[in-house]
């Protein structure tokens, strides 16, 4: 009995139990991986979300010029990679 209790306790600690009550309720913002390409002329602005407590992925959200709609860009796509390379170079000037 004592051994069983001890084993249970050890298991619990091992996997880091936490109740879900005060856990991060946040989620990622993109429903899926995102589109691989958006014609640059249509883009008004790009927001790059770094990993945070609510989402472990980098998310790139583009806002469209005319409609104001938002769309996720797949960070692994070639287009996004090129874009981020450039953003990295402009980073210092536009840091919020």
């Amino acid at each position: 009995m004592k051994l069983a209790a001890f084993l249970l306790l050890a298991c619990l600690l091992f996997v880091h139990v936490k109740g879900m009550v005060i856990s991060p309720r946040g989620r990622c913002q993109c429903i899926d991986r995102g589109v691989k390409f958006i014609p640059p002329k249509q883009i008004e602005k790009i927001e790059v979300f770094s990993p945070s407590t609510s989402c472990k992925d980098v998310e790139i959200i583009a806002t469209m010029k005319i409609s104001g709609d938002q769309m996720c860009l797949d960070p692994d796509s070639q287009f996004a990679k090129n874009l981020i390379k450039k953003l990295g170079q402009t980073e210092k000037r536009h840091l919020e």
Binding site: L12, L13, D32, V35, K36
Partner: protein, 389 residues
């Protein structure tokens, strides 16, 4: 997803940035000119686009956060007032009759302390919901851990009470008696230590963090970012353990113990106090499940959702987030029911309460009927349970 073979620059970006960064396309083009690759070679990307896996839909948390902002402060205030009133009365009555504590009284004392401590953290969560966590990381750790400890402690103590009643009524085993008061105290101590151990992750991981995905709001949340790469599995494992430790095991113990007692009651002699006892048991069990089952069901659905077994839509996410908030509040409401279900159902408690109220100058004409005295088993199961029915 896609973390393992990421290029170094993305990894750098991942670790160096703590916030959202906004770039205007015009600025980028003005820097690099309109002859940049992406302008001229866009057709090559268009080929990539042809695979139709993703729509790129964005789902913000605006709606569920707006709901929380209103719902949490209002409902938590109600729970707080009701809970303080009930549990405060229980503690006051127990203090007054300091001598004649039975075994169940000791459990009820610990239950009331746990419920009160849990209720004490609610104002902090209410403030967080309306204006963000303004208290800093140390208070976040303390509040979160106190909440967690008492959340589990309350549920385990309910299981302890049912186990004690089961043993003394069905098996006539006096696990605890007045002769060895240390036995019941050490059981409670064990429960507290166990809950304290369960809160270790909270002491480690809880932090006050601003999150741009949640409109820049600072919240007291678990931050696994520094320690784990694949927090999804940890989240799943911990959730499974919550279901088992926080709900399934206590439920099974309670259902088994109380159904045995009910069966014994049905077989036994007829009588008023028997009906009363049965009603009390049913109320206990029903209250526990009405309070906690919705929350567990919502969490299960959320787990299925995270495992992609349910179609991922923005409405589904918002509905789930709102449901988690609403059903967890229903669970905390159980803290307010405990004093009624466990303490004031017993004649002894009501008698002492009336005495106390009279002493305080309140003229309450309550009558404690002698006929119902025998049903006081519910607050004195330790010694009178076998003769109670």
């Amino acid at each position: 997803m896609g973390h393992r073979n990421e290029p170094p620059w993305l990894r750098l970006l991942r670790t160096s940035m703590s916030k959202k960064q906004t770039f205007l396309m015009e600025d980028i083009f003005s820097l690099f000119g309109n002859d940049s690759d992406d302008y001229n070679y866009s057709y090559s990307y268009s080929d990539e686009e042809s695979d139709t896996c993703c729509t790129g839909a964005v789902c913000t948390q605006h709606d569920s956060m707006k709901f929380e902002e209103v719902f949490v402060p209002v409902l938590y205030s109600v729970v707080l007032v009701l809970g303080f009133l009930g549990n405060g009365l229980v503690l006051a009555v127990l203090c007054q009759m300091r001598r004649g504590w039975s075994v169940t009284d000791t459990f009820i004392l610990h239950l009331a302390v746990a419920d009160t401590l849990l209720l004490l953290t609610l104002p902090f969560w209410a403030v967080q919901a309306s204006m963000g966590w303004i208290f800093g990381t140390p208070i976040c750790k303390v509040t979160g851990a106190v909440f967690q400890i008492n959340f589990y402690c309350g549920i385990f103590l309910l299981a302890c009470i049912s186990l004690d009643r089961y043993l003394s009524i069905i098996h006539a085993v006096q696990m605890y008696s007045r002769k060895k008061p240390w036995a019941v105290q050490s059981s409670c101590l064990f429960v507290w230590i166990f809950c304290l151990l369960l809160s270790i992750p909270d002491w480690v991981f809880l932090e006050a963090n601003g999150d741009d995905r949640r409109e820049g709001k600072v919240e007291c949340t678990h931050n696994y970012l520094l320690y784990f790469n694949s927090s999804k599995n940890i989240r799943m494992a911990s959730r499974l353990l919550y279901h088992i430790v926080g709900f399934l095991i206590p439920s099974v113990i309670m259902i088994y113990c109380y159904s045995c007692i009910l069966l014994r009651l049905i077989k036994g002699t007829q009588g008023l106090q028997k009906q009363r006892a049965m009603r009390v048991i049913l109320a206990l069990v029903v209250a526990f499940f009405v309070s906690w089952t919705p929350y567990n069901i919502v969490l299960l659905v959320d787990t299925l959702h995270a495992r992609n077994m349910i179609e991922d839509k923005c409405e589904t996410r918002t509905t789930l987030d709102i449901s988690v908030t609403a059903t967890s509040t229903l669970g905390y409401l159980h803290c307010c029911l405990n004093p009624i279900l466990y303490a004031f159902v017993g004649v002894k408690f009501r008698r002492h309460l009336l005495q106390m109220l009279k002493f305080l100058g309140c003229r309450l004409k309550g009558q404690v009927r002698s006929a119902s005295r025998r049903s006081s088993v519910w607050s004195e199961s330790g010694n009178t349970s076998t003769s109670g029915f």
